[in-house]
Amino acid sequence: MRLIESRALDAFRDECRAWLADNVPREKRPPDGPAMRDFDLAWQKRQYEGGWAGVSWPKDYGGRGLSVLEQLVWHEEYARAGAPPSGSMFVALSHAGPTLIVSGNEAQKARHLPAILRGEENWCQGFSEPGAGSDLAALKTRAVIDGDHLVVNGTKIWTSYGHLATWQELLVRTDPDLPRHKGISWVICDMRSPGIEIRPIKAMSGLTHFCQVFYDDVRIPLANVVGEINGGWRVAMTTLGFERGTGTIAHQIELANTVDRLIAAARALPAPDGVGRAIDDGAVAAELATLRAEVLALRSLTAASVSRGMREEVPGPEGNIVALYFGELSRRVHGYAFELLGPRALERGGAHDWPLHYLEAYKWAIGGGTSEIRRNAIGERVLGLPKGPTAREAAR
């Protein structure tokens, strides 16, 4: 436990800050559709040309080849500068790319990594299915080998930006006779392939960011299998916790800003009983102070996670603690607006669209593993408690 002070890192931070100040897009990001995707790709291209794409990705594939520390500094400065979310580039940058770096072969890396960093192509994820959500290993989308191709049939769901992506990281069942976790392969699917049909799904916030994808005899070259055939579960698990919370740093800083916004509102508003300011009311102060304490703790938990990341090759299950904490806190912070602001928080639009942020916040306790699944993982993989009776059965 110590402060790492390095001139090189400070200089790097200054460099990040200066570049971001001059280059963060000033125009508003389109909320939806191809216009949004084009905006995301153009912003990625600009970062690449400025030398800021893939700070910790290998140099051979267009990255900077720096350490997790520089990556963290970049994320922090990125969020502070109010740079746009990676949006439809998120899966490519935070999941598919890192997976290829760890598990892809030379040809796969050379084909895809530079294209991601240059903002030429983006990715979506094809993991969950209608019948395989929390129980991901129950996935049924079938892939049969036919010559030098796989032929895929089935459906995937909760595919964010599926209708706007070039490629997909797709988990398919290549051997239904093997134990559940062993008959799965991780493949690169071209979203423009014949036989793919995409149905966008509207979320409760009104935004349409995710889709259901249907596969009808979709042919994928065997060369697109990442890792071993039937070895896809391991490929997926190696990188599931890869980000260690740094991927959500932008959202964490945004959450801290939301708490600041609530505190500022409490200074301006009258107290619930009409006497004095809201911030001087005991109950209001107690809740706001707790929320501020917890966003500080979230930052500290992430720092602890990054600190472990400097020493371990493969991320441990502790990342679930950060994710659980963030998911639960996110919902509470946005939910408190209704209590503090009263009926004015019901209105959509405005300077800060409280209902939009509140409704969107529910996703953090569901996507990428529900809070309940994360609690299972913490119980079993961090604390070493035995698996439950149902999970034991299914694992056989």
């Binding site: 436990m1 110590r2 402060l3 790492i4 002070e5 390095s6 890192l9 400070d10 520390l69 963290l72 500094v73 505190i263 911030i279 001087d280 005991g282 102060a285 107690a286 706001l288 102070a289 707790t290 501020r292 304490a293 917890e294 500080l296 703790a297 979230l298 930052r299 500290s300 938990l301 720092a303 602890a304 600190s307 472990r308 400097m310 020493r311 502790e318 603690i321 659980l324 904490y325 309940e372 994360r374 609690r375 299972n376 913490i378 119980g379 079993e380 961090v382 604390l383 070493g384 408690l385 035995p386 698996k387 439950g388 009776p389």
Partner: protein, 322 residues
Amino acid sequence: MIVDLTPTEDQRMIEGSVRAFLAGRLPVERLRDPANQGGAAEAEAWGELVGLGLFGLGLAEARGGLGLGLAEEALVARALGLHLVSPSVLAQIIAPHLAEDDGLRAALIAGGTRAAFANRIDERSGHLVDGEGAAYAVLLAGGITIAAIDTLGRTEPVDAIDGTVRIRRTAASLPIVPRAAQADRAALLLAAYLTGIAQATRDMAVAYAATREQFGQPIGAFQAIKHMCADMATRAAAAEAQTFHAAVTFGRGFDDAAEAAAAVLLAETAALTNAKANIQIHGGMGFTAECDAHLFLKRAHLMASLPGTRRLHQRRLLGTAS
């Protein structure tokens, strides 16, 4: 500047030696014997505690200390919480930082002069905690004060919630000196002690859940119990991360008052909530005096009375403290 929260090799050694000593010499089970309560076991081990260099650990060498930092003291404080060591040992770690007089400071570091915590009920009264043999009282309430015990007036023993600690009701309180930095520093060490309680109760609950069988399997296999344990781990991790983040960055350009206040609020909640969950997970055994679970709950309540009111820490976090 990057905050690295993994203990260094030296820190691991310091913490390891203190924990090994406490596990051997002051295990929690000692408190089942009334002869060891009220700081008696600690008084017997006093020479060894002095020998471990606990008092003055984080004090500059020029002031007679070992020249280590707040992070090292916080690691020790957490270890004290794990073993429910008398709060007076923590008071003795804090006291040398408060002593202006060179002679007094040296006597506190050498252990010959002893300190104990006081809390405040109102302007005229409070409690003195494990004050047997102590010459000085340390009181946190807004600011922090160290004063000779006799300034607390006549004291009367009271029967308090934590029977393993000797508590006396004082007839006077101490004037508060607004020494913000020292108060925040001491509050952080109390937070660290509380995270020790949160950690110990988490581990005790997990160990029980992994071995106690009902319906033909360990109760920890059931999600109702497993998820309670996961929440205990998350609460403890958040409180610990915040406490140590605040300790490492103390005096280095962060908002120390807010960071320490956050640590105190989260550590109090983590210690109390985990202590309660530990009792619940132990079921009928948890309700008995034969199981140590109740000791952690009682100590958590006592320790939470020492860093000042929650309202005060909330105001610090919101920047509305007067």
